[in-house]
């Protein structure tokens, strides 16, 4: 279970104070699919980075299984990212000079279970419809295919938490549908999925919604009391 408890993050930019996250609290349980929605600069990505163990909040906690992940050592937090979190980046961040197969396999390698890679990659890429692209380099793929590879990489090794930052941004409806379906599948299989989007069309795909405006949660709708 992942929890944010009053997480606040303040940036100083050109002498201005920007409250990217202002006392954010939310809980994501296994099987939840939380959709975070808000305009640009509302703090959506900041929330994901804090939840992913890459950006410590200035105040408040980020808890995983009741432990504050920012009280852990950096190496323990690395392990958390490696073993418990799958991150889908808005800009894909695929490594350009290795093949699709190697990009996905990298995650298995980091987790130390390369022996599962062949089978796992075959299944993931089949689900995402990119099984015939394994020997290609990212630059040889369409934008939609690259995002599907990024999703496959995030889901490799079945992490408990999937954090997806605008995974459908810039995608055509068909590619977006494939990715949303895949994330919903993950939630159905007991993973905690958090997806950031600015697209109203996807507000209803999850089990909960967190609306952010200027770093604050302004409204929560969805399954139960999962965020405040």
């Amino acid at each position: 279970m992942l929890e944010l408890c009053g997480a606040t993050k303040i940036y100083l930019k050109n002498g201005r104070t920007i409250r990217a996250a202002d006392g954010l609290s939310c809980t994501v349980k296994p099987g939840d699919f939380l959709v975070i929605h808000g305009p640009s600069g509302s703090g959506k990505s900041t929330l994901l980075l804090m939840a992913g163990g890459m950006l410590p909040p200035d105040s408040g906690d980020v808890r995983f299984k009741n432990e504050d992940i920012y009280r852990w050592s950096p190496s323990r937090r690395n392990r958390y990212r490696r073993e418990n979190v799958g991150f889908v980046f808005q800009r894909f961040f695929l490594i350009p000079h290795i093949t699709v197969f190697d990009n996905i396999r990298l995650r298995y390698a980091l987790r130390g279970n390369s022996h599962e890679a062949e089978r796992g990659i075959a299944e993931l890429t089949r689900r995402l419809g990119i099984e015939d692209r394994l020997r290609h380099y990212p630059g040889e793929l369409s934008v939609g295919e690259q995002q599907r590879v990024a999703v496959a990489r995030a889901l490799a090794g079945s992490p408990e938490i999937v954090l997806a930052d605008e995974p459908t941004g810039n995608l055509d409806p068909e590619n977006a549908r494939i990715i949303i379906e895949c994330l919903r599948d993950e939630a159905r299989h007991g993973r905690s999925v958090v997806m950031v989007t600015h697209n109203h069309a996807y507000l209803g795909v999850g089990t909960g919604i967190l609306h952010l405006v200027a770093g604050r949660a302004v409204e929560l709708a969805g399954a139960g009391e999962r965020g405040k």
Binding site: L49, M54, L55, S75, R79, I95, L106
Partner: protein
């Protein structure tokens, strides 16, 4: 992490070129040094070993006050590998009147030590039985010619060779085999000096002379060592000059290698900044990422060490062998150098990657992944 082959190739070529230069310098300096050593060795023995009680002047002037001592001492010294001296020769000398000519009759016999190299050869060649080798002045006084005969104390010797003019007392010597000289002088088993050659092994002449004296005093009490300083110094200075020249060049080469690797490494770290950020975001720790760079560098260093070693050895052979005035051993690949070259290359590569790695571990994944 897969390599960017262009950068990898550039790095490999740079390291190979520098290792090649290093091996070339070490080899050419090594072989030049050996060549110089041989030249210096041809100047003759640089040590005289005499009984403690002997007056060196009596030996220099070849008086009848020289103190004879057993000739087996030379063989015993040759067995002691801890002594720094080699190329021993037992000498029994006396002033001798042959007809109207005054010469120095010298019985001489080389005594070999086990670790003397065949390539350099002993300073003294055996005088064949029944033969005499004459200094230039002695030959002139005796009117001797090669292949002719001379008679000493009633015994006839065939003139084997006449030596070139040296401008020393050796010009007046008549060399005959030691055992025949002992027999002629009625001094069986006796000599009155040992000539030897002090070898320097990476230390100063003074240090080595001190060491030699110390070992001699422990193992051969009652004998003293006199250094023929000019010959010893010449050899020592030749070696020091070569070493210092080489040292300066190697420092320069090492600095260039470090700079090339560090700059290339920094460039690569900068180029792979996003990749590093991705790996960190995926939970790879800094040791893992640093390991990728360092292992790659180690692999490259090992490959460059081998290629550079072969290239440098070939270059030294091709460029130096024809110009050496005095050749010693045949130049070629000295495989004994390879572990040292490999170790040094790896060490330099690891040291040079320190700066890029420092930059690498300062990479903030959050900053990388959120920058435009």
């Amino acid at each position: 992490m897969r390599h960017k082959w262009g950068v990898t190739l550039l790095l490999f070529l740079a390291m190979t070129a520098l290792v090649t230069l290093y091996v070339y310098l070490v080899n050419s300096a090594g072989f030049s040094n050996r060549s110089m050593e041989l030249i210096m060795k041809n100047m003759g023995h640089n040590l005289i070993i005499l009984p403690e009680a002997a007056d060196p002047g009596d030996f220099y002037l070849c008086t009848d006050r020289q103190i004879p001592f057993p000739d087996d001492i030379t063989a015993r010294m040759a067995e002691r590998e801890e002594l720094a001296s080699k190329y021993y020769a037992s000498v029994l000398q006396t002033r001798e009147k042959i007809g109207d000519a005054q010469v120095v009759l010298t019985g001489i016999a080389p005594v070999h030590r086990g670790d003397e190299t065949a390539e350099k050869a002993h300073l003294v060649e055996d005088v064949p039985a029944g033969s005499a080798r004459l200094g230039a002045e002695a030959a002139r006084l005796l009117r001797a010619v090669p292949g002719g005969e001379i008679t000493v104390r009633g015994k006839t010797f065939r003139v084997e060779k006449i030596l070139p003019v040296l401008g020393e007392i050796d010009d007046c010597r008549v060399y005959i085999p030691l055992n025949e000289c002992q027999e002629l002088l009625g001094m069986p088993g006796k000599i009155n000096a040992i000539l030897a050659f002090l070898c320097l092994h990476g230390t100063t002449q003074e240090g080595m002379a001190r060491y030699q004296k110390e070992i001699m005093s422990k193992q051969f009490p009652g004998y003293k060592v006199i250094s023929k300083l000019r010959i010893a110094q010449g050899r020592s200075l030749a070696r020091v000059t070569t070493s210092r020249y080489l040292y300066c060049l190697l420092v320069l080469v090492t600095c260039i290698t470090v700079i090339v690797i560090a700059v290339t490494g920094l460039q690569e770290v900068a180029e792979r900044r996003q990749e590093t950020g991705i790996l960190l975001a995926m939970g790879a720790g800094y040791p893992y990422i640093v390991g990728l760079y360092v292992f790659k560098m180690l692999g490259l260093a090992a490959a460059a060490a081998l290629a550079g070693f072969l290239g440098g050895s070939w270059l030294a052979k091709a460029m130096l062998s024809p110009v050496l005035v005095v050749n010693t051993r045949a130049m070629g690949i000295v495989w004994e150098q390879f572990p040292g070259v490999l170790g040094l290359t790896v060490l330099v590569a690891v040291a040079a990657t320190a700066l890029p790695m420092l930059k690498l571990v300062r990479t903030d994944p959050n900053a990388v992944l959120t920058e435009e």
